[in-house]
Symmetry: C2
Subunit: 349 residues, 2 copies
């Protein structure tokens, strides 16, 4: 078999570093990539029904002799304390010891849930992230944030737990439903909006985008930011552009109506509108953002009542003192954070 | 009010350090001790019904203007995913933001549960430990281990989360039930057995022990060990003397029949017996251990069938390859770890 051409990024964080490998066909070489991490330790593979149906065979033919894979039902519902409890039970049955290794093979839900389970099982076992959606490949699999949702809000319980390795195979995206691809592109637009005008402009061009190239650029931006602010007390906040309002939108639809990326797309437009209205954001930015999102097939307008989002906003991790910490754009490619009063937002919306 | 005389120990760990303050009457000064950590951040106080009934008034008269204290039912049952879920709900209702502070005011169960909740709420908020049992004061409040029990085993889900400060007031032990005091003394005996012959011998003397002094010595030993091995991959294992078999004994009684300290007392004797039988432990050590434990009113003999413990042992975090990593004594005051095959243990018992 020819070796797959892979690009390597290294992410530094307090107390260590790990590699992100990006290459079409890498999934077929996963067994070899995991071998130095496995040695004689038990391996628990966590996936979901859709991912396993599409790519389980490739995975299993590369990674040999492991306990039956843990195949969870697809969807955000499993990213809960109940899902966590189930996963702990699966780890116990597989006798996953402290030297064990978890492999998260799926989208953001699987990465976040398996990541949090690994962060807390026996106070922490190692994890390898093998993201299978565009959203997870450009965003959630890099940076070590793990979490589950609570009835009170999204991602309210979680941990920082950096992986040993992240393996990204853009070839698995060929089977990705169009809606999932769009959701991922929302985060790609975000990276352009906050940090890279050239990435942003590439998204406005006609024709098929070079996905592997986009993924590499996004991971590079994220790795740089995370290395400087692993614990999310400063610069890392910028990655939340569109997410504060986006989370409220997701919640308004009971995490059913809107996917994460769809909600973030609407949230970015709202944040840009707020920025323009308050005079922080270069005029024309909202329009540019709408064009880029529309080019990727994303809706840019929240169809519900904006006022209904405020009670949800005040439950946000970043809310305090009658307002919320928001990411605003100065212009495309440049972002900053600012505390915005709910009153001001209400007047604008 | 006269200032309380307090002793200070400093615990170093990767990425920081924190103080342990020990002094009779310190609880009355808690408000002042917390002030520099609180500033304008929200504070969530977690306690249990018994502790709050006995010491809530003192606490509340020192620490002013906080949201209603979270008073949980007493007992190990709350140290579960269900208890964790309840605590998350309480944090949400109190609008505990990322800059917030949790104060755990209770025994080991409260410290472990509130500690794990703080470690994971919004991916980590700060915690102050105010232990109220002898067991928690000499052991569980120092070192940053937090956890909940799962149906599959004790402390299976958890995190390392160092406190900002630990405040120990031995005066609160005056209201401690005799059984709880005995349980704490089991851990004090443990510190003597693994690290300090002089501490061990002090426990054999007649008369009331100087509790504040004992607590200081135990915290000092633990702080030294934890500073060298925060993540429990080496020396910290020694603190588990008696705990591997102890956990199995606790589990055999459904966490009802035997308290932690009672089970650890029996576990230490069994570990010493195993060590003597295998020729690792100086003859006479078992007898010395029995004398020290009996002097503290502790039972030294597991009344059940020892063979029934083995299935429970193999579910232990430290079990692997048909055996378990055990802490053995060379003599009183000196311990080491060794992998012991279940076969060998069965033959001895």
């Amino acid at each position: 078999m020819d070796a797959v051409k892979a690009q390597k990024l290294t992410v530094g964080f307090e107390g260590g570093r790990y590699d992100i490998l990006i290459g079409k066909g890498l999934l077929r070489e996963l067994g070899g990539l995991l071998a130095p991490l496995r040695k004689n330790a038990p391996l628990a593979v966590v996936s979901d029904e859709n991912v396993w149906a599409a790519h389980g065979e490739t995975f299993a033919s590369s990674v040999d002799s492991f306990d039956p894979v843990i195949v969870l039902p697809p969807g955000e519902g499993i990213k809960s304390l109940e899902g966590l409890s189930r996963l702990y039970g699966d780890f116990a049955r597989r006798k996953l010891t402290r030297n064990g290794l978890v492999a998260a093979f799926g989208g953001g839900v699987i990465g976040d849930l398996a990541g949090f389970a690994a962060a807390t099982w026996m106070r922490g076992v190692r994890i390898v992230q093998v993201p299978t959606t565009l959203l997870a490949q450009v965003d959630s699999s890099v940076g070590g944030k793990t979490a589950v949702n609570l009835p009170q809000g999204k991602n309210l319980a979680g941990a920082f737990h950096q992986p040993e390795l992240t393996v990204i195979d853009p070839a698995v995206l060929d089977s990705l439903p169009e809606r999932e691809r769009r959701c991922g592109m929302a985060e790609v637009v975000k990276y352009g909006a906050i940090r890279s005008r050239s990435l942003f402009e590439a998204l406005l061009e006609d024709g098929e985008p070079d996905l592997a190239g986009l993924i590499h650029t996004c991971c590079q931006i994220k790795a740089e930011i995370v290395a400087r602010d692993e614990r999310d007390f400063g610069e890392r906040m910028l990655l939340n552009f569109g997410h504060t309002l986006g989370h409220a939108i997701e919640k308004s639809g009971g995490f059913e109506t809107y996917r994460h990326g769809e909600a973030v797309a609407m949230g970015m437009v709202l944040a840009a509108e707020a920025g323009e209205a308050m005079g922080f954001t270069e005029p024309g930015t909202v329009n540019a953002l709408r064009r880029a999102l529309t080019a990727q097939g994303l809706e840019t307008e929240y169809p519900g009542d904006l006022m209904s989002l405020f009670p949800l906003l005040s439950a946000d991790k970043k809310s305090a003192g009658g307002g919320v910490q928001m990411v605003l754009l100065r212009r495309v490619g440049e972002a900053f954070t600012r505390h915005v009063a709910f009153e001001d937002l209400k007047r604008i919306f």
